[in-house]
């Protein structure tokens, strides 16, 4: 069985969702286009082009498939991505200072081989400097969180 292009299949499914959602909006008419007409046209174009791609590719021999990740690297990036997503979820609740300290400490420990106490002090310094520069000088209001600052 030939390898299918998963990314294009995802785009095909995406186009179907766009078409379905566009049809739920008012399409209007060509002389008075409604909010759904333009997204519907885009969804149809994306769907048709994805299908053409899949059909055209279906008649061709696959090239040798090389793995996307070297051993260990995928796990490392997935861990970082997981930490970043967790950070974005707890950012409001914990506040800028606490959540950013933990994130910086985690990233430093993972990417820079230093002692944990040195990484901890560096993380505190980075968080405080960024806080002073952006909240105090640039007046960007960060979430205060459980510390209240």
């Amino acid at each position: 069985m030939r390898k299918l292009d998963l990314d294009v299949i995802v785009l095909l499914v995406f186009s179907l969702i766009v078409c379905y959602e566009s049809l739920r909006l008012s399409l209007g008419s060509t002389w008075k286009p409604g909010p759904g007409l333009f997204p519907l046209l885009l969804g149809v174009t994306l769907g048709v082009l994805s299908l053409i791609f899949l059909l055209a590719k279906g008649f061709k021999q696959d090239k040798k498939v090389t793995p996307l990740w070297s051993p260990g690297s995928g796990k490392r990036v997935l861990t970082i991505l997981g930490a970043l997503c967790l950070y974005s979820v707890v950012f409001s609740f914990l506040g800028y200072l606490i959540s950013t300290f933990f994130l910086t400490f985690f990233l430093l420990s993972l990417s820079y081989s230093g002692k944990w106490i040195r990484n901890g002090i560096t993380s505190i310094l980075i968080c405080v400097v960024f806080y002073i520069v952006f909240q105090v000088l640039f007046d960007i209001r960060f979430p205060s969180g459980i510390l209240g600052i």
Partner: protein, 504 residues
């Protein structure tokens, strides 16, 4: 206002203290990110974009433009000293620049790269001053159908010509970008679309978290996969000024590189990478000793380095005159102006001459600053290269977070940033270009507005896009670009070759 008096007006804008300072900071930051491999001007502009909110639009655009052309200067340093291009536009410079450094001629290589860039930058500014007003006078007659044609043409050309991976998939991603641009309130009736009850999506997908995620976070994730350890070539840099023979060998490549870079840089999708390769090929062809290219020929540094700087200035032509960005970085520049409520296009010249001429004049002043800055600071840039990426990475991530959050002060945008960061990383792994997606997101609302306005104007007839010569011309170019792989393949077959039609 004629061109000379316009230039003086532009210079009077630049020489105000704030504008001069922002030009200086932009050039300095640009050189820094150009020097550092793994931190591109796209990510830097995206990260700094929210910080420009409180600046005047002129100050903001001068700063961002400085980062863009400053990065072209900085990129040459790592190419010559490390054999690692700081910027993709300096890839070709590695070929002969690094060899020159190995032979103890790193100084003249860096020197000619800086002088060539300055000369090309000056040439680019002069051409921009001469060409831009002429295009504006034509563009003032454009209506909605013309803009529909031009936007579709630009998006197709950028997707098809600039993509390093599959061009067809890049086109699909451009359409995805257009679809993402429709999220949020409908521009005419105000009806909410595709927001699925998520408050962060009510006003549409914010540009900044998307751009910072796709460029900044994704770039850091890719770099964190493997810890890059690069050795700076251990050599004493002396005699940065090229000698008389170096100049004699470099004059013609600089002139040719400037022409090639500027004119190709104005074309959508061309960017500054392809012209540098063309410039290198032209120099090799023009040389009496083409076999010596790759062994440390100064022509191989002078031509491409002049070319990338001229191309970065040529890219401003379609943005400032038509409001259509020819590449991803210009798309962010468009976003920066739109954040300040300014829509680039033919009216920019009459409504905001301070921005138009100020930016153009700032490029010339900036190029002079870069020449003065770069040569004495090369030692510092080399030291900067020794900072471990493990320390830089968390700092870049934090800047990305602050950049995305500060745009609207909405914590939901941090999640959008991470989602697009992950998506950008996957796209990089799959060799998919994120520029068409960003361009689609930016141009989407503009395209929809002009598309619907055209249909209202023509009472529902699609023939309006084929009755207007410019709109029709743009659509014909689009079709030709899209069919170009098949046309080339057919022509080759006719010529007797054994090629097959290939949709990558």
């Amino acid at each position: 206002m004629d061109t000379i008096s316009s230039l003086f007006y532009g210079l009077s804008v630049v020489f105000s203290p704030f504008n001069l300072l922002s030009c200086f900071i932009g050039c300095l930051l640009g050189t820094l990110v150009g020097v550092l491999p793994g931190v591109g001007p796209g990510a830097t502009i995206a990260i700094l974009l929210p910080l420009t909110y409180k600046m005047s639009p002129t100050v903001a655009v001068i700063l961002l433009a400085g980062i863009y052309y400053g990065a072209q200067y900085g990129g040459s340093t790592t190419s010559i000293l490390l054999n690692i291009p700081g910027e993709s536009t300096s890839v070709v410079t590695c070929l002969d620049g690094y060899q020159m450094a190995r032979q103890g001629r790193g100084g003249p290589a860096l020197g000619i790269a800086a002088f060539g860039s300055f000369i090309a930058g000056t040439f680019g500014v002069i051409m921009l001053m001469l060409i831009a007003p002429a295009i504006v006078s034509v563009a003032l007659r454009f209506g909605s159908p013309e803009y529909v044609g031009l936007i579709i043409m630009s998006l197709s050309m950028v997707s098809f010509l600039s993509s390093s991976g599959s061009r067809f998939k890049a086109l699909l991603l451009g359409i995805v970008g257009l679809i993402l641009g429709t999220v949020g309130n409908d521009p005419i009736y105000g009806i909410r679309r595709f927001s699925f009850g998520i408050t962060t999506l009510y006003d549409g997908i914010e540009l900044i978290p998307v751009v910072v995620g796709l460029f900044g976070v994704a770039e850091v994730l890719v770099n964190l996969e493997i810890v890059v350890r690069s050795e700076v070539f251990q050599t004493k840099l002396k005699g940065l000024l090229p000698n008389w023979k170096d100049w004699r060998d470099s004059v013609k490549p600089i002139i040719r590189g400037s022409f090639i870079g500027f004119f190709l840089g104005t074309l959508p999708g061309m960017g500054a990478i392809v012209p540098t390769f063309i410039s290198y090929a032209v120099e090799k062809r023009c040389s009496r000793t083409p076999e010596k290219f790759g062994t440390g020929m100064i022509e191989g540094v002078a031509g491409p380095e002049s070319c990338n700087n001229a191309a970065s200035e040529g890219a401003f032509v379609p943005l400032l005159t038509l409001g259509i960005p020819p590449n991803g970085i210009m798309a962010m520049m468009l976003g920066a102006l739109m954040i300040h409520g300014i829509t680039p296009g033919p009216l920019l010249l009459t409504e905001h001459p301070d921005i138009f001429w100020g930016v153009i004049a700032s490029m010339w002043v900036g190029n002079a600053m870069l020449l003065v800055l770069n040569l004495p600071l090369i030692g510092i840039w080399v030291k900067v290269l020794r900072i471990p990426y493990g320390i830089l990475a968390p700092l870049i991530i934090l800047l990305c977070i602050i950049g995305a959050y500060s745009a609207e002060g909405n914590p939901g945008d941090v999640l959008v940033l991470m989602i697009f960061g992950g998506l950008g990383y996957l796209m990089k792994k799959l060799n998919l270009d994120s520029v068409p997606l960003i361009l689609g997101l930016i141009l989407g609302p503009m395209l929809e507005e002009h598309f619907r306005r055209s249909l209202l104007f023509s009472k529902g007839s699609f023939t309006i896009f084929f009755n207007r010569p410019i709109a029709l011309g743009a659509l014909v170019v689009t079709v030709l670009v899209l069919l170009s792989p098949m046309l080339v393949s057919l022509l080759r077959r006719k010529a007797g070759g054994d090629y097959e039609i290939n949709i990558k």
